[in-house]
């Protein structure tokens, strides 16, 4: 049986085709999910891709969080459904309080698109077990509001419990506190990333194929959970 991974399209989502391609490259089946349908179509995991849902005209991700699909996604995630939010998807997960903190305007006040080096800090999550702790990978970042913010107590707690998943390595492109590029929830099934691993799945269209590991990780996780025979 093929693993089925859902990709949610909100109005203004842009990287859904890329996320679906990355899922296919990893060997799974990508299933299109629509923001207006409160239906996860029995998928084994869900990706919230990047883009500008609702134009980012309010707080990024704020309106998308109110959509029907989120009304079923949030309880499923709380019960353990693996969820990966990339860029705008990360912002939606923060708005949904599945992850702590918020993404704010880049310190430079400019949108930035660059090939970014990241250090993998946690490999226990559902989406990062293909990597080694300390491994440096190159994955594009592209965001205008990617500056991760949380209060000191939250940051201390994230670090103490190993919930920082990736950090910016060669430089911090947006001013994120403690160089945080991605985090997970306590259970490890929900991960939010500002960088775009779906844009690093081969050397032809990306700076590397380093990003594919996020998508192969979830297959390993699902096999381990016995979801897949």
């Amino acid at each position: 049986m093929t693993t089925r991974i859902g990709v949610i399209t909100f109005p203004g989502t842009l990287d859904d085709v890329d996320a679906a391609r990355a899922i296919r490259y990893s060997g799974a089946e990508a299933v299109a999910l629509w923001h207006g349908d409160a239906d996860l179509k029995d998928v084994d995991a869900v990706v919230l891709p990047g883009g500008f849902s609702y134009g980012d005209y309010l707080r990024c991700g704020a309106i998308a969080n109110l959509s029907p699909v989120m009304s079923v996604l949030v309880p499923a995630a709380l019960e353990g459904l693996p969820v990966l939010g990339i860029c705008n998807g990360f912002q939606v997960l923060c708005e949904a309080h599945l992850l702590p903190g918020a993404l704010t305007r880049n310190q430079t006040l400019h949108f930035v698109c660059r090939d970014q080096q990241l250090t993998v800090a946690d490999t226990t999550s559902a989406w990062t077990n293909a990597y080694d702790v300390g491994q440096v990978i190159t994955v594009p970042v592209k965001n205008g509001e990617g500056c991760y913010q949380a209060d000191d107590a939250t940051l201390d707690e994230l670090e103490r419990t190993g919930r920082v998943v990736v950090r910016y390595h060669d430089l911090n492109p947006n001013g994120s506190r403690r160089d945080i590029a991605g985090i997970r929830n306590e259970r490890g099934n929900v991960v939010g990333l500002m960088p775009h691993p779906e844009h690093a799945i081969d050397d032809l269209t990306g700076p590397s194929s380093d990003g594919l590991g996020f998508f192969t990780s979830i297959l390993t996780t699902l096999v381990g959970q016995g979801v897949l025979a």
Binding site: P11, D15, D18, F52, D56
Partner: protein, 763 residues
Amino acid sequence: MSRPVDTVETAAATPDLAQPFAELGLKPDEYQRIRDILGRRPTSGELAMYSVMWSEHCSYKSSKVHLAQFGRKTPKNDVLMVGIGENAGVVDIGDGWAATFKAESHNHPSYVEPYQGAATGVGGIVRDILAMGARPVAVMDSLRFGPADALDTARVLPGVVAGVGGYGNCLGLPNIGGEVAFDATYLGNPLVNALCVGVMRHEDVHLAKATGVGNKVILYGAATGGDGIGGVSVLASETFDADGPAKRPSVQVGDPFMEKLLIEATLEMFAAHLVEGIQDLGGAGLSCATSELASAGSGGMHVELDLVPLRDSTLSPEEILMSESQERMCAIVTPDNVDAVLAICDKWGVQATVIGEVTEGSTLVITWHDEVIVQVPPRTVAHDGPVYERPFTRPAAQDELAASSTTALPRPTTGADLKRDLLALLATANIGDKSWVTDQYDRYVRGNTVLAQPDDAGVVRVDEATGRGVALALDGNGRFAQLDPYVGTQLALAEAYRNVAVTGAIPIAVTNCLNFGSPEDAGVMWQFEQAVTGLADAALELGTPVTGGNVSFYNQTGDTAILPTPVIGVLGVIDDVERRTPLRYRNDGELIYLLGETHDELDGSAWAAELHGHLGGVPPRVDLRHEKVLGEILVAASRDGMASAAHDVSDGGVAVALTEMALRSDVGLRFWAPDGIDPFVFLFSESSGRALVVVARSEELRFSEMCAARGVAAYRIGVVDSGLATEHDVAPGTQVLEMTGQFAVALADLRSAHQSAFQRIVA
């Protein structure tokens, strides 16, 4: 109390009513011509329509007689599927795929309001591509600003860049390249030219025509507001005066989120075969869309203007006709399909309204609460505008300019001086690293970008199954065009053609954005006539049809026009993007070849302009037969796996081209001038028809034999070498660019010079 509406009936009854045609930009004889066409005075609504549609921007009234050459000089091949006249030309790119691409200027709005001006420039060209039936797949931009250190550049440049990025990023189209240049004449006249490319299957080509009596006219997208009223005619057709009225309200405001929804909804309609004809609303808004759709069909159409959804309920019918509110499209749909179209729009959250239908006869009738306010033959609005044969004369100063060559300028002779000039050139805004700009653009979205800036051309995969893709380059050189607009335009085309070929793609078609001063100046008109003739002649010789284009006049402040700036776009096809040739070399020991001859051609060069403030003489010679053969060699080198990297030689000559390759690769190289060539000329001459090709040693024989067989000079001028640090006084492991017997310089020093200009601009 509502305003009285000027109906056709009242117009007939009040023939002598004074009308503000001059304020709307119409000349007395143009106004008279409208009266002659209609046999009465126009209503205020008709006057609004004619005035925007007969403006320079919409009617091409000063350029039409010259642009006709593109049709007369079309190469005899079957690449062209849809030619000039539609929203954008369409070309066959093989395997049943078609591509459509076009560039458009948004110069004046970008001066008034840099962010929105640039943003809506991107939005407009994307809708043109969408209207052909294509999915837009990438954008590019060609930008020109005043001097880098001018105060107004600090206002305009960041706004324009943020606008191009803000719109394109939110829309989800990768920005794959373009150019950024600076010159004093662009101060007060920045150029913002945006290009979009889209792809579709052959059978999906759509046209802007309203046929089939009883078919419905559906307006969908954003509601109509007061923005951009008169934007086209007021902004694009007049020179800025220091004491003129504030023109800010004429600039449109963009909503890229709505445009993204519009794209997805429209593509879904196309996929379900629901659309008979389609037109985007850009300049001149509904006036343009209704008159063009109707005149391309049998002519009959009835539009109920009061059904148009409004953002501002106080708008008059004339304002609704002229509004340039963005993100709107107009589709012609059979009655059976109306519900399906409305359902798709509803799914995407896009407002859609049936505002009229195709009718018998050949008259466009527009009503306002059942009263007829427009009753015109649509062709007279859309196509039969005035055509001017404006006088053109070669300016007297042109001879003086040609005589003022660079021969008197002091040329560096020692290695130290050559190195000094190279570093100085790299530190200028024109030659400097543009990543401050391009890092604000998403080049990855949609996952098909194979090459993007700083590569010579952008390359986008079209078909994942086969790897078929398109390459695009956009080039202009105002200095060469100033020295000789005929040759200068051909040089721009040759450069764009070469940039496409460098990546391994076969150049097949041409588009253009022609930016000039006032057509009422006979000298400017001569530049324009020469540029168009040069482009048409060269496109014919290269076998690449001109598929469309755009003209922007009145780019001048007072009597000072911009450098004539024809920006030329070339589209190429690559059958498998896996074999693309990048700018970056990777393998130590590979050989660097220079193809083409280097002559003593420094007039108009970056070296003369940037280091000596000199512009004069004659531009480099252009040899199109040679360009074609060079292109074939570059494509063959890619196809047969002979080239591991390549780069066009243009601004700043071989010196800058080699530096760009080394910096991109982050690996040093050693090079030398071929026997008999002066080192300075070798480094800084801008002779055309040249490219650098990096060749593995195992391929050297095959490569040089191929060049010899085709009669193209190939000089082995260098080698990739990461180990030069030991021979020079630099830290071990440092990468070095060395010109044998002349100078050596660490890549770190080249890089810091290269990045310094933009660091100063944005500081």
